[in-house]
Assembly symmetry: C2
Homo-oligomer: 372 residues x 2
């Protein structure tokens, strides 16, 4: 292996793949970055075995020249650190199958790594069932659901986002059993599949997206999902198990339905949370009275806060009292992009349904706190 | 106490004083901010008893109106959090000597605190010996020395910066006994005093400076130093004890003296530190040979790095080998503002003297690592 690569190209590519490299792993080879040079270009791979990120760099004069193909695994931390501090063309050449010689101007480094053959192979996907999606819509779906996963390992399936395709729809759901976030979108392809993706992988995928790549390709097999964003790919191991059927949880009718300004309500809930942190569930009290919504929290030793906001529209019972987890409510409102939002109350102990106005593809549920 | 204050004015002032507020303290009153309103304005005080930061806000129509003087101590965390989330004029009024009513538009908060009398008084300074200094010069002196203090509590006096005035000079010194940073400046006033200021206080003072305030007033008494930057003041308890006499440590002659480009050398040392972290002392090897300086580090299991830089000028023996702590050398070079720097080597086990070229007021020493 003998390549010449511009420092900023190498640095940026390493930045993507080292996100997946774990520092603590029972497999020492996974503390490295797998570099594979072919006549077509250079592929970089980083992995902690559950999550794999790859980056392909096509050969291009002045950016990347492959003089001799080859492959090696080099320690991720040291490689990223030295490349960050170099400027201009970097010459990387193997001395033997575990040692690379790296030169840049007057700077010479020898880095010891592992033979390429020791590095695990990439999962094989059923590419025939690859879904083509608009990247910004896919990212929005994930952002609008991932925050609602369970942070507890008690029910492992709930620590992931449930992605399902079928009947011309792509659906994304997450729930920790106290709240739920649901988002769907139409798809053209006839694929019938579902999987549970660990929230860490979703988080990394969101961070990987540069906002520029237009299309994403999503493929899965029994154990892995693969998302390709241009030259960057993320593979994640799936969570085994059966995801609960959530469609029965969504209440049909409502006792009270209010329409509010999303941003103003979010700011109000944020303020009303001032003393909510003193409670296990971030208790925020909501009172509907006289065409206004009162938001408040209190802690005996510390004080209290309250504010009231005008309700834009109200349907059904015009008096209502409820205690919600203010943190859940804030996260739900933050995921709504639309200017107005509807809150549908089914009664004091029934979950609240939050929907952006005029958008039936996005829905959230929050169970009340048993405080009254 | 009854005041009206603009949210952004209050927020910014609280931001300064809460830096000194400690969350863990045996005196609960110190978890609060002391608010004192007089006809002249509002004073805010935050303290962890070793460090005190005060901010004076003069009464000014539309920014701060004092309708009724008074004072209270309010919980810093809650007060800062709510003020951050309010926008526009804030009305703050005492209900009794431990409770404040805070209103802003439709938002109402009650915050419980402590009576003003429970808050410790500010230290009394000997203002007759107040030193007037250019703020940017004072901050530069502190930045160029504070990093060299000892991080170990074994010798408490070394955890502070030694500030001394006398013979028309102001001197600032810090050392951890392996390296030393020294900076001096001329002063017009005839004050003869010295003190040891904890490094935490120096760090806070540097952060407090907004870069705009031109002048700083420095006063001290037996136990405290007081630095006033416009409306903001910092008081710090001094470290008791006798600071070592460091003037005898500075070597007179030199075996080799080299002149180097500061930034280029700093970058080179930074790169050469790649494998230095594997050693207790961040060993970086320096070799002078053939008009060039070679910088390198190595770790048997990982690899090695080396680079060579042109020496601009050399005096004395032209061959030299030495091992220095690369982290110390980087911090020393980073504090040099000048474009060129001289390194004076006295021999393999003698400290290296680093001076900016053409600036006799700034000097640093680094003891070599016993590696050869």
């Amino acid at each position: 292996m003998k390549i010449t690569i511009m420092s900023e190209v190498f640095h940026q590519a390493l930045g993507d793949v080292v996100r997946a490299v774990s520092t603590r792993t029972p497999m020492p080879v996974l503390t490295g970055v797998h570099l594979v040079a072919t006549d077509e270009g250079l592929t970089l791979v980083g992995s902690d075995s559950d999550l794999i990120i790859t980056r392909e760099l096509p050969a291009e004069a002045g950016r990347l020249d492959v003089e001799q193909p080859g492959a090696i695994v080099l320690p991720a931390r040291y490689l990223a650190e030295i490349v960050k501090k170099l400027s201009g063309p970097i010459h990387l050449q193997l001395i033997d199958d575990t040692t690379a010689d790296i030169r840049c101007g007057e700077i010479k480094t020898k880095l010891k790594g592992s033979p390429s053959d020791d590095y695990p192979k990439l999962p094989v996907m059923e590419e025939s069932e690859t879904l083509q999606l608009d990247a910004s819509r896919w990212m929005e779906m994930l952002k609008q659901t991932v925050f609602a996963v369970s942070k507890s390992e008690a029910k492992p399936v709930l620590t992931g986002v449930h992605i399902s395709m079928g009947e011309g729809r792509l659906k994304s759901v997450a729930t920790d059993s106290h709240r739920l976030a649901y988002r769907e979108t139409m798809i053209d392809q006839h694929i019938d599949r579902s999987c549970i993706v660990p929230y860490q992988a979703i988080g990394e995928l969101i961070k990987l997206w540069d906002g520029k790549t237009d299309a994403v390709e999503v493929a899965m097999n029994e154990h892995h999902i693969h998302c390709r964003l241009g030259e960057t790919s993320l593979y994640s191991r799936l969570i085994d198990g059966k995801y609960p059927n959530v469609s029965g949880l969504i209440p049909e009718g409502s006792e009270t339905l209010v329409k509010m300004e999303t941003k103003q309500l979010l700011k109000g809930v944020d303020r009303a949370c001032l003393f909510a942190g003193e409670w296990k569930n971030h208790n925020v009290y909501i009172t509907i009275h006289d065409g206004r919504m009162k938001l408040s929290s209190a802690a005996t030793q510390l004080g209290n806060i309250e504010e009231s906001q005008r309700i834009m529209e109200i349907e059904g019972t015009e008096e209502m009292k409820m205690t919600l987890d203010g943190k859940y409510l804030m996260e739900a409102l933050r995921s709504v992009k639309e200017e107005t939002v509807t809150l549908q109350f089914g009664g004091i102990m029934k979950p609240v349904v939050i929907r952006p106005e005029g958008n039936a593809t996005h829905l959230q549920l929050i169970s009340p706190v048993r405080a009254y």
